[in-house]
Assembly symmetry: C2
Homo-oligomer: 196 residues x 2
DNA sequence: CGAAAAACCTAACACTTGTTAGTTTTGCTT
DNA sequence: AAGCAAAACTAACAAGTGTTAGGTTTTTCG
């Protein structure tokens, strides 16, 4: 029977990854040491290796967990019977929500993937390229159906995605700008620039 | 008389910073070692210290060079007699151009500033906050003058800036998407979402 | 040329890195 | 209470970190 940890119904491995994520975000993957992570978990560095195989594995877990969530969601949207505009809105909202709910994981997957080692690095980049391609296809579909402004679909995808994933610096002013304001304002900005 | 280096009319210090920038971008500030930088310059690690004071100084130089360029430009735009919409377009175009011309420096200033040490870190963050505030003020001015859509100005600034600074991944597909296409498509996207 | 200055080199420092080995403690099941 | 496995510990490793000291070569310039 799998070992279940005290708090939060989470494995110790999950606790380690969670604490590591926070540190990777604050100091960067390279600058956050195993001893830092161990201290955050409340244990000696060597003890971490009872639960994980390497520092790299932590980064891999985080990056692919995020990638898989986005790909799964995209699959659902692609299959759905919504208008193109609605599809785009759904995707944008999903990205913003992910950013708000799982800020640290998303941040790491966005900024620290460079430190992945092969073959994980290539794998990750392939998945990302494919995701963007499929998003671009949706937009081109929308242009052809005359639902969207005529715009370079690749640039539009990049603009959209980076606009959303750059909300990092918003995080600390959560008090002055609520999540709802952020989401609705951003959707408004990003969608009304697309609508014909 | 100041020492002038062989190629490109640049000081050796500038060469070091240039090479370091490339490495900081590829591997991150923490993972790029002085010995890596030295090798790129074609010299031993210790010799670097004839031209710079520390690894930190390189990062500081890059971050504040970028910050100053943006602030200077903003000052000019603020003083000008353009419409608000035109002002925003000028700023957006400037950001995109900077991204294309000085990709490495901008990338580092955007992503590696976390590794600045005090008091430079606080200083940098203050400058950034002030820049965004002033950009937000322009937008609010535009809303009041009925030139722009009614939108949360802070969210708009963040959306705009992060959309632009996230073009990192575009860099390697320069062949398929020209700089002109990128700039015009992006301006179209970002401006027409603002125009009333 | 000859001297001063600038730039470079080798060697070393004190410290941190990820990780392994071997041992001891913890906590559950019989 | 005994036994067993999981998980913690201490100690150490080889390699890499930024940086300094001191000596040697190269460049500059009168």
């Amino acid at each position: 029977m799998p070992k279940i940890q005290s708090k939060k119904n989470s494995t110790k491995k999950e606790v380690i990854i969670e604490k590591a994520a926070k540190l990777f975000m604050e100091k960067g993957f390279g600058a956050a040491s195993m001893r830092d992570i161990a201290e955050a978990v409340g244990v000696e560095a060597a003890s971490l290796y009872n639960h994980i195989q390497s520092k790299s594995e932590i980064l891999q877990t985080i990056c692919f967990k995020v990638a898989n969530e986005f790909i799964s969601h995209l699959e659902v949207v692609e299959m759905s019977n919504e208008t193109i505009l609605k599809k785009m809105e759904i995707i944008i909202r999903f990205h913003i929500r992910m950013m708000l709910d799982q800020y640290e994981y998303i941040y790491i997957s966005d900024h620290e993937w460079r430190h992945l080692t092969e073959p994980y690095l290539s794998n990750f980049l392939n998945q990302r390229r494919s995701y963007r391609k499929r998003l671009g296809d949706i937009i081109e579909d929308g242009i052809q159906k005359n639902e969207l402004k005529k715009i370079d679909s690749y640039v539009a995808v990049l603009t959209m995605l980076s606009a959303i994933s750059g909300i990092e610096s918003w995080q600390r002013s959560r008090k002055t700008t609520s999540a709802e304001t952020l989401e609705s304002s951003m959707v408004k900005y990003l969608i009304e620039g697309l609508k014909k």
